[in-house]
């Protein structure tokens, strides 16, 4: 019966753009409301993304006071650059495909089956996302590199091939798919698929015709995010690819931070933009017709304990490889943190706390945890505010303007972090916006990467809310705000928490431009890890591993706490 809803909901009049056929007073008003909602995210992106990026690219293109058009042809005609572009694209596509293929079964298991330790495992799956890539790369080398476990057991070495890069990308981005797709899947009413099966569809065909279309928007969102993340991959490529593999991101970093060849960096940045814009256009086109009102139900009611051999087999068949992929690298790090100079123990952890304030270089773990959590909390709040308003404004798909705005919000994910960081440096340098030495710059830069996650996790759910519920509320006299609070909010609360988890993890893992902006000396956990790794000696390396372990624990504990909030509120659906 729910299937028929789509028919009813489909012929809605378009709202944005030209006002639409049904453009009565109420439509005109909602356009204003939407523009009002868009004002905050638009201003945020204009000031903290558009302006800085335009400033640095403009400076590059007009270096020396005249346009550097000759450089465009020169850079783009360089076979090395074309090679880098091609590699960036194909490895991102391969990484995205591989991540989806490996994570989708995981989504099913987490959405539909109940098993002990599920919440813990879901939190653990997100841990790789926040780990510094240097640490991840090192762990991968220990597993799949020369002399690694695979080498010792099977004689398999991946560090010389592109497979190490692809697998590391899967490891880092597994949680993106698990959380965006799995989050929506858990709220889909399983009875729809059951109905299809009663009507004679096979298991697979029922899934393909009922569940898959419903998941399409979130699948598209996850694929888009993973692609953008891997397209702009930096640390993983450097550690595992060595000097032989480079992405556009690596090349832009080299041109900007090492050579200060701004014209070349500007051309490469614009190339990256063009690729990302093309991708966003394809994404928008493919998803546009797929989103529809869905019947969402409390997530807890859709999962059940596995029954029958097939489901148990599915559970184990999915969980065991997942655990191997996710836990083995994490296990390597923990092992190294505990394998002290005098055998296993907590020597490195003790050394960490003993160092506390002898020098400004090494940071007391408590201080680093405090800094990380404080930055992450502020970044999460900014991302939720900006992203939440944007998602609310975008709920009704209509008009080119709105679609363009939607795409614009994704751009920071596909933009080189060094471009944004250096853009901040030259754009935000005068009052009232001289934020360069202010701590707020760090969470702002992190929120830029967090907002797309918030939008992409909330939007599919917001759009799935049946419009007639809102209309009913309106008919009963509720204001749009109240209708949103009482209709939309309870349904999207879960998505909101998933989004918050992402924004938090993004910040904890220090994504984005923060690495490239000068900032006050309040070292976070990843920074402290990087500092220790940059020094010779067993004690320093061991302490870096110990601190990475602490970072994992902080991440897992925070995400578990969020999961708890999520279940506590389930009764209100």
């Amino acid at each position: 019966m729910d299937l028929t809803r789509r028919e009813v909901a489909a012929p809605r009049a378009p709202l944005g753009g030209g006002g639409g056929r049904g453009g009565g007073r109420s439509d005109g008003r909602s356009v204003w409301v939407r523009l009002g909602l868009m004002a905050v995210p638009a201003a945020f992106f204009a000031v903290f993304f558009g302006y800085p990026v335009a400033a640095i690219v403009g400076r590059g293109l007009r270096e020396g006071g005249h346009w550097q058009f000759a450089r465009v042809g020169q850079v783009l005609g360089d076979p090395d650059v074309l090679h880098v572009l091609w590699f960036s694209l194909w490895q991102a596509a391969a990484s995205t495909g591989l991540t989806l293929a490996l994570a989708l079964p995981g989504c099913y298991v987490f959405a539909r089956l109940d098993f002990p330790g599920k919440r813990l495992l879901r939190a653990v799956a997100t841990v790789p996302f926040v780990l510094p890539t240097v640490v991840v790369g090192s762990a991968f080398l220990a597993l799949a590199g020369r002399g690694g476990l695979l080498d010792e057991w099977f004689g398999v070495r991946l560090d010389t091939s592109v497979w190490a890069i692809l697998l590391a990308h899967v490891f880092l981005n597994y949680a993106v798919v698990l959380r965006t797709v799995g989050g929506l899947w858990a709220q889909l009413d399983p009875r729809q698929e059951e109905a299809a099966r009663v009507l004679g569809a096979g298991r697979l065909s029922a899934w393909r015709r009922v569940t898959l279309p419903a998941l399409a928007p979130s699948l598209g969102a996850a694929a888009l995010i993973v692609f953008l993340f891997t397209f702009t991959s930096f640390g993983v490529i450097q550690v595992l690819g060595g000097p032989r593999y480079a992405t556009l991101e690596v090349e832009i970093y080299r041109q900007t931070a090492t050579l200060l060849d701004l014209p070349a960096a500007a051309v490469l940045t614009l190339t990256q933009f063009a690729a990302v814009a093309a991708l966003l256009a394809v994404h928008a086109w493919s998803v546009r017709k797929r989103e529809s009102a869905l019947s969402l139900v409390p997530a807890d009611s859709t999962a059940h304990r596995p029954s029958g051999a097939a489901q148990w087999a599915a559970l184990y068949g999915v969980l065991v490889p997942t655990l191997l992929l996710l836990l083995a690298p994490l296990g390597v790090l923990v092992e190294r943190a505990l394998n002290g100079p005098d055998g296993y123990g907590f020597a490195f952890f003790r050394a960490l706390s003993a160092q506390s304030d002898s020098a400004t270089f090494v940071v007391a773990p408590a201080a680093a945890i405090g800094n990380s959590l404080a930055y992450a909390a502020v970044a999460t709040l900014i991302a939720l505010l900006v992203g939440g308003l944007a998602a609310a404004a975008l709920t009704r798909r209509a008009g080119r303007l709105v679609r363009g705005f939607d795409a614009l919000l994704m751009l920071p994910l596909g933009t080189s972090a060094v471009t944004v960081g250096f853009g901040f440096l030259i754009a935000l340098d005068e009052p009232p916006l001289d934020l360069r030495s202010s701590w707020i710059l760090v969470p702002l830069a992190q929120a830029l990467v967090g907002v797309p996650f918030v939008v992409r996790t909330m939007l599919p759910v917001l759009r799935a809310v049946d419009v007639r519920l809102r209309e009913a509320a309106a008919v009963l006299g509720a204001s749009p705000l109240r209708a949103w609070r009482e209709v939309d909010f309870p349904l999207v609360r879960r998505a909101l928490l998933i989004a918050a988890g992402f924004a938090f993890a993004v910040s904890l893992g220090e994504f984005g431009a923060t690495v490239f902006i000068a900032r006050p000396d309040r070292p976070t956990l990843p920074m402290a890890v990087a500092r220790l790794l940059g020094r010779a000696g067993e004690m320093n390396y061991g302490q870096a591993m110990a601190l990475s372990t602490i970072l994992m624990l902080v991440c897992a504990a925070t995400l578990l706490a969020l999961e708890r909030v999520r279940t506590d509120s389930a009764g209100e659906f």
């Binding site: 409301v33 931070a257 270089f361 250096f422 707020i440 010779a536 320093n540 061991g542």
Partner: protein, 359 residues
């Protein structure tokens, strides 16, 4: 009913706007007209004991605020880009491989620091104008795993010429000269030693002798060097391009202290880096900046550096800590190069090197 929504949107907008204004003000309060704070812009590897920084505050009344901008190259480029609105008062951490660009761009203002008289002329690369002050030196050298060579009963290499000998085939790992500062230093050592054309032949031989290039120092040292992590690493290369101060770092904090560092230095493979600091043009607190530059050459700071940053002091007569005298090596005659020559040729050298050593 739409007034509700509109009001809500307006309210949120103004809240965010207010927050922005507040943070903007907060930001400028922090570093604005405050003449009691001196801002030091530096790279990620800067370190100083809290005690020493407190001593500076006690002597001068200024508090040091540290801003870090990534690695040394990124920090210097940021200073070049923001020269009209500098981020702070003093920049520390530009070395001779990077010096030309900020000098040409006019990033630094002249100031002759007190105590410069005790710094050897050889380190004063801007002695006419005093736009930058030398603060420390460090040597990039091939390190070797003592135990590995002892077990193999093989004498460790001493010079660049040794490295191309068949006895040391497939033993050396170095870093990408395009991205890594020790990698670049090692390349410059070979250019300085073998000259404008000869270095390319040297690298052809080194390649034939199985040199391996990885991306960063962290990978070369932590993942590939056999002596890393107390020998628990799974490394396969007993020779690595690192620093002359790496052996003391290996020993620091190890109990009980060993007789000898686990690693040694091939003394004839070194390239000397000199690190400079300078007063930024247009600094908000130039007086504080000058005081800080004086302090960087003071005995307190110079004596503190070896154990916090693992570099050598430039001030003559500065007593080195036991960790350095006992486990470190003094490099007598390292290769080095004028900043102008490096700036002029760097890109071409790195390009040629990439085609010789990597591709």
């Amino acid at each position: 009913m739409n007034t509700h929504a509109r009001r809500a949107a307006a309210a949120t907008t103004s809240v965010l706007a207010l927050a922005l204004v507040a943070t903007a003000c907060g930001g400028s309060d922090d570093s604005g007209k405050d003449t009691k704070t001196v801002t030091l812009v530096t790279h990620d590897s800067f370190a100083a004991s809290k005690k020493v920084l407190k001593e500076f505050t006690r002597q001068t009344g200024y508090k040091v605020k540290v801003l870090r901008g990534g690695d040394a190259g990124a920090t210097v480029n940021q200073a070049v880009l923001s020269k009209d609105h500098p981020q702070g008062d003093v920049l520390f951490g530009v070395d001779n491989t990077l010096l030309s660009r900020p000098l040409d761009a006019g990033v630094f203002a002249s100031y002759k620091a007190k105590g410069l008289g005790r710094v050897p002329r050889a380190y004063q690369l801007d002695a006419d104008k005093h736009r930058v002050t030398p603060v420390d030196t460090g040597d990039i050298c091939v390190n070797y795993d003592r135990k590995w060579f002892a077990d193999k009963k093989l004498a460790p290499p001493r010079s660049l010429a040794d490295l191309v000998k068949p006895a040391y085939k497939n033993l050396l790992v170095t870093e990408d000269a395009a991205n890594s500062s020790p990698g670049l230093g090692f390349l410059l050592a070979t250019v300085d030693s073998y000259g404008g054309k000869g270095w390319q032949d040297y690298w052809k031989k080194l390649r034939a002798n199985g040199v391996e290039v990885v991306d960063s120092w962290e990978q070369a040292y932590n993942d590939r060097f056999t002596a890393s992590r107390g020998g628990k690493g799974k490394g396969d290369k007993p020779l690595v391009v690192s620093y002359a101060s790496s052996p003391p770092v290996e020993v620091q904090g190890v109990k009980p202290q060993p007789e000898q560092a686990p690693t040694g230095v091939a003394k004839g493979t070194c390239f000397r880096q000199t690190e400079f600091a300078g007063l930024l043009t247009g600094a908000r607190n130039p007086e504080g900046g000058k005081a800080l530059l004086d302090f960087l050459l003071s005995e307190e700071f110079q004596r503190d550096m070896p154990l916090t940053m693992f570099v050598n002091p430039v001030r003559e007569g500065t007593k080195l800590p036991e960790l350095f005298t006992k486990y470190g090596e003094r490099i007598e005659d390292p290769a080095t190069m004028a900043p102008g020559r490096i700036a002029k040729n760097r890109e071409q050298w790195v390009k040629t090197w990439t085609s010789l050593a990597v591709k």
